[in-house]
């Protein structure tokens, strides 16, 4: 079923660019497939639209850089097809599970009745092997989203795809052409094998550790710092749990050699709809030669912000406008944040063109700040004390207390810093002085020498729908143990949790996430958008996923306006699988009448 409006719109979008042959092929080659690579194995992908859609989940192969990989796909396509909807329509999506195991589809970022949210055990019972389930819901929003399995670890195997929802009226974001850029990670290992390896040895996939050879050649930390970190039993090179040692990094399902190519005509405003559908990988995005104007985050329009690079955490989406003016190719660089690999694509005026691919930059090492030590280590306290503040008595520039390293080690797990946190083995560390890091460039991007997007750069394009002052505050600790590979909210893995996180229907709550670990955690709440508290008042950016920096905090205001039970979890797939997940309930007060 092709929605005629959508089809026309699509033609409008593309009319500027591809040329007659492509125009003729439009119905079969939708926007995001237009840009497929030259590889013969990477056929065009379907675009599904209209009020009735059928998705069939089945095992298949995926060709990456000329090699076959096991995968799970939809309608013969892995990644799954683009679903293109229009704000205001209703949609019925029938999912047929042709696997020999249970499956499910979750609509990531979509506001819908909770019983259509697709999380087995929370929103519905799941779709049994050989079974089917019909999702039906009104489409009440516009923007770039995605969908994926919420069963087992199927998401790692290719069961994810993009969703684009066109606004009911004119799109406030003007562009001449658009491309979906769906980023992901794929491994020849079965995801359960990956998880088992992490359980056996947390650093199994890290081949960028510090070595004695490195010490002798003056690389990485000096001896004294290595000893400090060794005493804490912390590995500063532990940035990503699963790395390029096993992953292939993909743009729209294509490996770096496949070179996914998106076409443009010089001078066009090209909209890139970035989706990070990875299981475990945050990507640093840049296009050498072009500036990136961020116009949407997590499907919500933001005031345009122009940067040279941004990090897209797992499960986030960003829409960018780029305006290539030269008749040449540009490389879309999606470097993993631990620099163990790269997804790569090309924007070009014609197929077959390439631009230089930059080398991977040196990998970041975690700092004391990533351990929740605030700014202590680098003497930033002294530097951070400006004369004005000193004059106000806020600080003493000459009195930056030097950290006593001996004292440091047992401060790393001081429960006085997190009253109420249970003393379980899951809690390897408690951040002694976590700071709000939403104003800092994400991990590894502090010193790249150009403009990098921070969360504080984001401002909602529209006034927030709810600007009430929160009626209460809630702090949630993100805890973990990298040695045992355990992850949990507030020190209790989901399998041991006895009560959900309760909200009253309609209440507004200020939620602060405190990252007690040295790893980044992209935290996702189903069924809601929340407003990041980053100082923008009633223009706070609205997101469904917030990446909490290592040893840092992030605060958001949540209006619990969607009645029902919702999943709340770290979107690092193996962190979630290890226990970093909870159920959020949104219920009416007992005296306010019946439910749903």
């Amino acid at each position: 079923m092709i929605d005629p409006k959508t089809a026309i719109r699509r033609r409008d979008l593309l009319a500027g660019g591809v040329g007659l042959t492509s125009l003729a092929a439009l119905p079969a080659l939708p926007a995001w497939a237009q840009g497929h690579g030259l590889s013969a194995h990477t056929g065009p992908r379907a675009e599904l639209t209209g009020p009735d859609i059928t998705l069939t989940i089945a095992r298949q192969h995926m060709m990456i850089d000329g090699k076959p990989y096991h995968a799970i796909g939809i309608n013969g396509s892995a990644p799954a097809p683009l679903i293109r909807l229009r704000e205001g329509q209703r949609v019925r999506i029938t999912v047929v599970n042709a696997l020999d195991e249970e499956s499910s589809i979750h609509w990531h970022g979509l506001l819908l009745p909770f019983q259509m949210d697709g999380v087995p055990g929370i929103s519905f019972p799941g779709i049994p092997a050989g079974g089917r389930f019909t999702y039906e819901f009104p489409v009440v929003q516009a923007g770039t989203y995605w969908y994926h399995s919420h069963s087992g670890l199927q998401e790692q195997e290719g069961l994810y795809g993009p969703i684009v929802i066109d606004p009911a009226g004119a799109d406030p974001i003007a562009s001449d052409r658009e491309h979906v850029v769906l980023l992901s990670d794929h491994s020849p290992l079965h995801p359960h094998a990956i998880f088992r390896r992490l359980k056996m040895q947390g650093g199994y996939f890290n081949y960028q550790k510090q070595t004695l050879a490195g010490l002798l050649t003056g690389k990485d930390q000096p001896l004294r710092e290595r000893l400090d970190w060794g005493r804490m039993r912390m590995d500063p090179s532990d940035v990503s749990d699963v790395t390029g040692a096993t992953y292939r990094y993909l743009v729209n399902g294509h490996g770096p050699a496949d070179n996914w190519t998106g076409l443009f005509t010089p001078g066009e405003r090209v909209r890139l709809r970035l989706v990070n559908a990875s299981a475990m990988t945050n990507f640093n995005i840049r296009i050498p030669g072009l500036t990136l104007t961020v116009v949407q985050a997590d499907g919500q329009d933001v005031r345009p912000v122009t940067v040279d690079e941004l990090q897209i955490a797992v499960a986030e989406t960003y829409d960018l406008i780029v305006t290539p003016t030269e008749d040449r190719a540009y490389t879309l660089v999606a470097e993993t944040w631990d620099r163990s690999g790269m997804a790569r694509g090309t924007l070009a005026p014609r197929m077959g063109m390439v631009a230089p691919v930059p080398a991977l930059r040196p990998r970041p090492l975690a700092t004391m700040k990533d351990m929740g030590m605030g700014d202590m280590e680098h003497g930033a306290m002294a530097g951070g004390c400006s004369p004005e503040h000193a004059a106000m008595g806020h600080c003493r520039p000459d009195a930056a207390p030097r950290m006593d390293h001996g004292q440091m080690s047992h401060k790393m797990r001081d429960f006085a810093n997190a009253p109420g946190l249970p003393r379980t083995p899951v809690v390897q560390t408690v951040a002694p002085m976590p700071v709000d890091r939403t104003g800092e460039p994400p991990q590894g991007l502090a010193d790249v020498g150009h403009r990098v997007l921070t969360y504080r750069d984001l401002m909602s394009a529209k006034v927030n729908p709810d600007t009430r002052t929160p009626s209460r505050a809630l702090t949630i600790h993100l805890t973990g143990n990298m040695e045992r590979y355990m992850w949990a909210f507030d020190g209790v893995k989901l399998n041991a949790v006895t009560a959900p996180i309760p909200f009253r229907l309609g209440e507004r709550v200020r939620v602060t996430l405190v990252n007690d670990t040295m790893m980044a955690h992209p935290i996702h709440l189903h069924g809601h958008f929340f407003e990041l508290v980053t100082g923008h008042g009633d223009h706070a950016p609205r997101k469904h996923t917030v990446n909490v920096a290592p040893g840092g905090t992030a605060t958001f205001d949540l209006t619990a306006d969607a009645e029902g039970d919702w999943a709340f979890h770290c979107h690092m797939l193996y962190h979630m699988h290890a226990g970093m997940m909870q159920v959020v309930t949104v219920r009416r007060d007992a005296d306010k009448g019946a439910a749903v």
Binding site: T211, A213, R231, P425, T438, D457, T469, G552, T553, R587
Partner: protein
């Protein structure tokens, strides 16, 4: 059995390994974990991160802000920020939000003093130096735009005990799916078999072999562990070998408490022992094991073992290792005298072809004390493997 009872009575979850009774481990290289620092009488309150306000961006400058002099609207010069110029004087801010009051930027109205949990702050002990004021851009802090807000202190609602989805789907199916979902998010069980040593020992005239490994099955906290270690000379019966079956429980982020039985299967006197021990990761990445063995004849033995993996390159790893055995009394039929009964030192260089498969070469040195005194060095050729 007394140490047994003591250990079982102790609440393991709250204990640190170094506080465990009865677990002195003489000769261990393990750096002792530091005792918890005595808390100062004046407790330092948690200094909650105070959201720093907007970072310098031209886009962040709304008309209202510009009017207040907090920032300069877009004029093509993104860095043209007025700095502190628009910052209201302390105490004179017309709009003093809770966050700012907490930062000491302005005088809050009385009600903001009762800040909710999460924002609580002890002004007296707050370390302003750590707050990185310098990095804040006051030009765009949006003080004026912050609504007069003080997050309330309403109680959370009670946690429901039912499932909302039961109203839409078969409750039995939901219950089963919910159990499965919870089990899959943190409740999985695994197993591993690991041989740290599996080697041939080449020494002058009397080649031998040595192994030391363990297998486990279970979840993150509770595990069944089987350990085995032994040695012998070729063309000889097994010199000494043992198998232990232990219940292992995680008692802190790094340490497991283990209790169970040990059975000697080689040697002249095959004894059975009750075992209590610990195994874990000490500071500086030392893998450490320590155990007490009480035999069915009432003899008390102890053993401690430690090694560390020093990475030379990403795949070449040097492992120094030490093992010491002790006896509390003379054991005539085993030729053991009270005190240190033997000491083993090893230095092995392995190459990880895969993490799971690493051939190694090294030296092994052993010294036996007492009636069976002797020892010497050997070339060790083996494989460190797990699966």
């Amino acid at each position: 059995m007394i140490p047994f009872a003591l250990l079982l009575l102790a609440d393991p979850m709250g204990q640190h390994h170094h506080m465990m009774p009865g677990m002195t481990m003489p000769g261990m290289t393990m750096a002792p974990a530091k005792p918890a620092a005595p808390r100062k009488a004046a407790k330092r309150r948690v200094v909650k991160p105070v959201p720093k306000k907007a970072r310098a961006t031209v886009r962040a400058c709304s008309a209202e802000h510009a009017a207040m002099g907090h920032c300069t609207p877009a004029d093509g010069k993104p860095d043209a920020m007025p700095g502190m110029a628009g910052m209201p004087k302390e105490g004179a801010a017309p709009a003093c939000s809770a966050e700012h009051a907490a930062m000491g930027h302005c005088q809050a109205k009385p009600e903001t003093e009762s800040m909710p949990q999460g924002m609580a702050m002890d002004h007296g002990t707050m370390d302003h130096g750590a707050m990185d004021h310098g990095a804040m851009d006051h030009g765009t802090m949006g003080h004026g735009a912050m609504p007069q807000q003080s997050v309330g202190s309403a109680p959370p609602p009670p946690a429901p005990t039912d499932r909302a989805a039961d109203r839409f789907y078969d409750p039995a199916a939901m219950a089963a799916a919910n159990r499965q979902m919870r089990m899959e998010h943190g409740g999985m069980r695994f197993s591993q078999i690991l041989f740290n040593l599996a080697e041939v020992q080449v020494r002058d005239g009397r080649d031998g072999y040595r192994w030391d490994g363990e297998g486990w099955f279970g979840g993150d906290i509770h595990r069944l562990v089987v350990k085995t270690e032994g040695e012998g000379a070729f063309r000889d019966r097994i010199g000494a070998a043992e198998v232990q079956a232990l219940y292992s429980r995680a008692i802190d982020p790094y340490w497991n408490l283990q209790v169970g039985v040990r059975q000697d299967v080689g040697g002249p006197a095959r004894r059975t022992y009750a075992v209590v021990g610990v195994e874990g990761l000490a500071p500086y990445w030392f893998d450490v094991e320590g155990a007490l063995f009480l035999s069915d004849k009432g003899e008390l033995l102890a053993r401690t073992e430690a090694w560390v993996d020093q990475r030379i390159t990403q795949r070449a790893i040097l492992q120094p290792r030490i093992e010491v055995n002790f006896a509390a009394q003379d054991i005539a039929d085993q030729q053991i005298a009270a005190g240190v009964s033997n000491l083993e030192l090893g230095l092995r260089l392995r190459y990880e072809i895969a993490r799971e498969f690493a051939p190694y070469v090294g030296v092994h040195w052993e010294r036996r004390y007492g009636p069976a005194s002797g020892g010497g060095a050997a070339l060790a050729l083996g494989i460190r493997t797990w699966f």
